[in-house]
Symmetry: C2
């Protein structure tokens, strides 16, 4: 910022008097400039809003897009949310991460059907209108792929927080509760699991423990951030299991089958299991553990000179509310409590912030989340000690970003 | 929904056993059908997500768009949010209402400047990078044009809730607090007002009472629902004054001038004042009073047969949290308390819901909000008694929707 001195013309001066946080912004090397003349964009009528009855981002934000994982097929893969460019906690629908196993099916709302059968009193078929006519609830919840940060187990791989943590997003979801739909069909005694199947080319199916799913408020969602689900999020209906790994939140939901036990489907045997050091695999590891990451400054960003910065990031837990986030700027030697942006909601992204003065030296930035159960986000070393080097899913380790003396920020294991 | 009887083939049966709300869905006239065969969209790979690095709504949702007010010029007017199609409380950025007085200026982030001068110790110019480097806050707040429902003063005019109440939206905003920017410039004793000017062709300016603005947490916002502001929302920076009439939340914010008194600009003298019965005008009527509206069922919708419906709508107040919403289905003779969807946040849209059984007769649906100050949303009759028939802004009267025996819903004054 530039201080204008009417007598001597503009000169540089940077202060942050009155800043409640007590941080102080010091002079940067920015050139001085005169007060602005009437800019060209005020001298003519602006653009016509009619051109966009459904609005679009500014052209200047063209780089703020999802990044697609390289995949063996054109129509199966994953798209990562650009967390380094986002603020607050809501993910705009156009940037919500997605993982698809057979591309995105095109399902007309009139053609949609949900079959509920198996151990029920009344096998039933619901149309979309049927589901929308039932009582609704809304809730804000994060969703995270359990493969998020899987590339970071053995060495720092992602260049940006989009690449290391971008299989994470957060929405306000609206739909009808699973318990209402199951209440209509009538669940038979002994039915302990519900197999949910998607209407995509992969017919992706997962077995859901019924009691646990009802306890967390499982929802058949048809809306996200106010509007209809996006096609890649399961239009017209997806299962939302707050806090469960993303893969279980079945999209394009087509079938709920009530059973005594799980189906042992491909996605819960060949995939989405943890290979342990003894060669056995941990299965049905549903709940996403507490985790956090600094989004600014983060990988591939560059600090513009020494002085005041606000470190900012996201924390979340599949087990409830975030209780605290501690931040270290010295690779974990010392920690300071960050400020949490309220309201803090259960199973929802929580934004944390900490004022920091960069002195120009090398620094390693880390964040560590604690959730309301008292669970503390582990170091990578501790996680590797528990799961070994062949695990892939559920990497919730503390992330380290190294600020180099040049101001460049890089992904490191520290 | 259809009950499947494996012995006798599908037959119709509708129940809502186990529904916690106690409401019961009765049979509708929907035709029976067989369990779904494998649909065509599961028999081939789906669409490629790569086509949309910034995602778009489903093609089937093409009617869910903003509606543009007819205007005398192509590039000044207003666009209304389709509240009848929305769920929950967040408005997706592509559907956020807008009012523009000179079209939408195209302002590059590098070219953006904010001048802070007048009664300050240090007149200053801020770049966008300067503002983003300051401490940030996030908060969810509604925004409403004080002209919202202005067409409804004397007779029911809007056909839909989009037309009657669509100059209303709600976002999570992120930015730096006005008090931080003013703290840097240093406010001189005696400065009681801040004139905010937009960088559009209209150079729209409004005078803001300083103490009041700081008390409500006035913000210089650069992000909305996580991403950068949309062009028509003031990209790259707008003023956000929680609870104040929309017009004061200056977009494309260019200039803050600290003064002893207000500027008496066009927008606070010729417009945005209330013409009272005695010919005088009420000025600086900043705070949006408590208001609510039923969005389902609402104007131009049609009920599909008798039986269970969930009445749903939105309530909000510029003075704080919504405390209660009462709903009437008999034109205000009797009222029932609606369920409020939590968490209830201050100066934020609050979704309310009430189970209802339609018996097929004519019914007049109304909602009435009460905020935490105890203020009760008035009837139109009471509002007209206070302001007469020549007022236009700040119509927060109770809205009536009449359900006809055909199931059609129309806008009435009741």
């Amino acid at each position: 910022m530039t201080v204008i001195n009417p007598r001597r013309g503009p000169r540089r001066r940077h202060v942050l008097e009155g800043l409640a946080a007590g941080a102080v912004l010091v002079p940067s090397a920015r050139a001085t400039e005169a007060p602005p003349a009437i800019p060209s964009w005020m001298q003519a009528q602006g653009a016509d809003v009619n051109a966009h009855p459904y609005g679009q981002p500014a052209a200047f934000e063209a780089e703020v897009v999802r990044e697609r994982m390289k995949s063996r097929t054109l129509t199966a893969g994953a798209s990562f949310t650009p967390l380094q460019h986002l603020h607050g906690t809501i993910t705009p629908n156009g940037l919500f991460y997605e993982r698809d196993h057979g591309g995105v099916p095109t399902i007309g709302p009139a053609a949609y059907r949900l079959l509920v059968d198996g151990m029920v009193d009344r096998p039933m078929i619901f149309t979309l209108s049927d589901l929308k006519r039932l009582p609704a609830v809304s809730a804000r919840h994060f969703m995270e792929c359990s493969g998020n940060s899987g590339t970071e187990w053995t060495k720092p791989t992602g260049r940006t927080v989009q690449e290391t943590h971008g299989l994470l997003s957060c929405s306000e979801w609206t739909g009808t509760k699973l318990e209402i739909v199951l209440g209509i069909a009538g669940v038979k005694p002994g039915a302990g699991w519900c197999v949910a199947e998607g209407g995509d080319a992969a017919a992706l199916d997962r077995s859901i423990p019924l009691e646990h799913a009802l306890k967390i408020g499982a929802m058949l969602a048809y809306a996200q951030n106010g509007e209809a689900l996006r096609p890649e999020q399961g239009y017209p209906v997806r299962l939302v299991l707050p806090g469960f790994e993303g893969n279980t939140n079945i999209k394009w939901l087509r079938h709920l089958e009530l059973r005594r036990g799980p189906a042992m489907s491909k996605e819960e045997t060949a995939y989405y299991t943890e290979l342990l050091p003894d060669g056995k695999a941990e299965q049905f590891n549903f709940v996403m553990r507490a985790k956090s990451v600094i989004t600014y400054p983060s990988g591939s960003q560059k600090l513009d000179g020494t002085g005041f910065y606000e470190i900012s990031g996201l924390a979340w837990s599949g087990s409830g509310r975030i209780k605290a986030v501690d931040v270290s700027v010295d690779g974990g030697k010392t920690w300071q409590p960050a400020t949490l942006q309220g309201p803090i909601e259960p199973i929802c992204l929580t934004r944390f912030r900490l004022p920091w003065r960069w002195n120009g030296g090398s620094a390693v930035l880390q964040s560590r989340a604690v959730d309301e159960t008292g669970y503390v986000q582990p170091t990578l070393k501790s996680l590797v000690g528990q799961y070994g080097l062949h695990a892939h899913y559920h990497n919730n380790a503390i992330q380290s970003w190294q600020v180099e003396t040049s101001g460049d920020v890089i992904n490191v294991h520290a």
